[in-house]
Symmetry: none
Subunit: 236 residues, 2 copies
DNA sequence: TAGTGGTCTAGACCACAGC
DNA sequence: CTGTGGTCTAGACCACTAT
């Protein structure tokens, strides 16, 4: 067998294929996917290559493997965690309050070194950048500083974020594959403090979130909240 | 080469070896570990087997690999997982760091009006109260202010929390039924700031958590962390 | 250029599940 | 028993880094 000519490794191609088919519904939760031998034949590669693809999807909890039996699509987990990817607008409305947002920036930019690394793309790759302030009953409650991969959301710039938040739009165009987040307490830079109408000595509760879709980084967002009037909650 | 006779796979043996050496300090953060070829020779196995061990440690963020250069011990991050109700001691040890705790208070009290309401018991109900400061490599990283329902943990007062944290003890005696939590950024009261050895102007990342067991409120805990050196992370 | 990791092969033997 | 996954080999070629 000659080595793949494209730059993407074969095992990655197979992972993508399996993910796509699962998303398409070809195999539903609990269904068995083809055996390693079958996939090896289908892709005309060695079994070890298929094994790596399937093994990695197993550690990513996409699949379950049972020795002697087969490989199955895993159950989607209930994640009622704090970062339920809920739109802030929806959250505010569910409290019976009025939601309003102000668009402070909406531009296309070329990824610099650092952003390129975070998005796992080449420097110069097109990204969208938006900064939106969300108000609950006219009180600033969140600054949403968002970077979006242009490939996954081509018409991001033409959206009307007053009627549909970036979150709501992105959920529609880029099916969510995974999320990483971290939460910290930080003293905000002055620009953020001003937008939140707080002193730059008050600390903020900051949520960083990176979402994956179609095996790419879809969006990286930093949400700044006034520490004294916001908290994350959850239960399980 | 014959297959290993022991039941543990060779790649796992190599992972264990590498983790042990890192923990021992043989290679510190940023140091290069031996090359794949060297490890293959050392363990008398094929390079692919070593590759799997090292690759998995890389996805687990224990190592960094740079093609053409080498494999290096990754930077340990101050991070906690939210979703797992993990003992802070265990978390610190899993980073290869030393955990130490100081007991500041351990008493039995009668629930006042407010506590009684939170615990859903009658005022006067017996509760235990403990305040413990946790250190990671002698740096204060958490103040754990805990209230415990005496019914579910009768011998709470006689525990040695230096060897077993309250969390570990409670997990053993009171099977977890459910959890509610909230996270906020707060300026700490002076007593807390002093225990964390920070200025009372620096904000804290605070996790409130209420756990249920046997259909009662088992424990209500407030954990204070220095905002500038602690964050919660997670992914799904 | 020599050394490193990144990937892949075409076999192999084993343990386990299900018929 | 057959078919599945679990592991391992002894090579190979490639891309990249450091010198």
């Amino acid at each position: 067998m000659t080595t793949s000519l494209s730059t993407t490794p074969v095992f990655q191609t197979i992972k993508d294929y399996l993910l796509r088919e699962i998303q398409k519904g070809t195999w539903k939760e609990g269904d068995a996917i083809p055996s390693e031998a079958a996939l090896a034949q289908q892709f005309n590669v060695s079994r070890m290559t298929v094994n790596r693809a399937v093994r990695e999807l197993t550690t990513e909890q996409i699949l379950n493997r049972i020795q002697g039996s087969g490989t199955y699509v895993a159950q989607q987990k209930y994640q009622a965690t704090l970062v339920a990817i809920k739109s802030i607008a929806e959250e505010i409305r569910s409290r019976g309050h009025e939601h309003r947002s102000e668009l402070h920036e909406l531009v296309e930019v070329e990824a610099n070194e650092q952003l390129a690394q975070q998005f796992q793309v080449q420097p110069g790759h097109a990204l969208f950048h938006s900064v939106i302030v969300h108000f609950e009953n006219d009180i600033a409650i969140q600054v949403e500083d968002r970077w979006v991969n242009s490939i996954l959301a081509q018409d991001y710039l033409t959206q009307d974020f007053a009627t549909k938040t970036p979150n709501e739009y992105l959920m529609a165009v880029a099916p969510l594959q995974g999320v990483d987040y971290s939460i910290e307490a930080v003293i905000p830079p002055k620009t953020i403090a001003d937008m939140l109408q707080i002193s730059s000595k008050e600390s903020c509760l900051v949520l960083h979130r990176k979402t994956r879709s179609q095996n790419q980084i879809a969006t990286i967002v930093t949400m700044w909240h006034p520490g004294n009037r916001y908290q994350f909650t959850g239960s399980f």
